[in-house]
Subunit: 259 residues, 2 copies
Amino acid sequence: MRSIEEFRNFFLKGYLDYRPNLVVDCAIFGYDCEHLLVLLVKDKIVTKWCLPGGYIRKEENLEQAAARVTNERTGIDNLFLKQFKTFGDVGRNCNKGSWDESKLEELAGIKVDGDNWLNGETASVGFYAVTDILNAQPSIDFLSSECRWFPVNEVPLLGFDHDDMLKEALRAMRMHLYHYPIGKALLQQKFTLKDIKQLYETLSGKKLNPTNFPVKLQSLGLLTKLSEKKSIGGHRSPTYYKFDNEAYEKALNEGLVLV
Amino acid sequence: MRSIEEFRNFFLKGYLDYRPNLVVDCAIFGYDCEHLLVLLVKDKIVTKWCLPGGYIRKEENLEQAAARVTNERTGIDNLFLKQFKTFGDVGRNCNKGSWDESKLEELAGIKVDGDNWLNGETASVGFYAVTDILNAQPSIDFLSSECRWFPVNEVPLLGFDHDDMLKEALRAMRMHLYHYPIGKALLQQKFTLKDIKQLYETLSGKKLNPTNFPVKLQSLGLLTKLSEKKSIGGHRSPTYYKFDNEAYEKALNEGLVLV
């Protein structure tokens, strides 16, 4: 929402452009080599921090809606977005009693009555993505006052059922580490086995057997060893690797078992 | 739907009892020691076989709706139902052009007009479950003409986007084999390591290293060795095992990594 007009139009006539009863919410994880972060938004009419999300335009499928929402929040295209769970508890409704109606009136002079299209029971399809925080530019719009990264272990109490969503997103992402390759958007073009171990440790949130993931990725043909070594000034210069693009894309589509 | 009255009422006034725009569909996998099967339904007004599914009652959450639908189809309570993906492509709509309207009129004298509550874009939340086929009693209702098991590799072309759903359900179930214990409802109370290997091979659809899953389950404390051995008449009687209930339930809730 860029302006008060767009905002008013969405509340009063959004049913012309958007599907009712269904939204997408996105846990966008950020990686900065050492920490795992998550992008949170503070809306002007919601009292708590939330995962970014929004309604689905009538011409979009769920994946396209999630891509648009994350693009609006981070400026990144082509995020590897993964659906992880849909949340549909009775009364989770984003649009009833979960926001401060007085702020809505104050901000845009709107009173949402019982017949409003936003008032129905609304399920949310959860997506997650992982990005290098350097590629992202968190941004706010008319409706939001803040948008920024939080370390995943220092997240405040979230609005609606987003605490549960974030927990489930983390759980799914950590399960998927064993079944989808990751790293092409998070590592430099060439990297050492130590870099990849660091990546998996940060994402999984635990210390790993030093050879586990790198060795498995190599044995499945996803890593190509380069002749170049990283110059670290010492006597043991680590070798650089890169991803084999074809094997990487294939594994991304078909899945694999890193065990 | 048990009667023509219930059926007519659902079509014409279902919006009073059910949420619009969202359904659940369930891939119910059946295990008979040697084969992996899936339960399909033939509706009288749909021209192809489908996964069983239905609308969500207003007082239900998604999991409860899936449990009700599978219970109506199989008679089983307490299935381990897992959400795997939500399907929301534009036009996938279960309720427009995907069924034979002349049969609807023939069957119940109903013409569904453009304003009908079933006509909106409808997303489907996919669940899967795995059950011993001996525990299930496939059953039909007023709306369906057949309901039976098909081997997963002999499934006919399905209606709507259910081919894709079934593929994704299989993929998710096979990924989950590495992260959730399975077997309590599929094996006898006591079983041999060979039984558990057979279970994992049938479910995963591939030959496995004979010690892989059984050894990992043991090392994580999920299996308890019994003193009793299976009498097979030969000189090498295999030992019986059982699941450790507490460890099993904990792993079911928290997940694990069988690698």
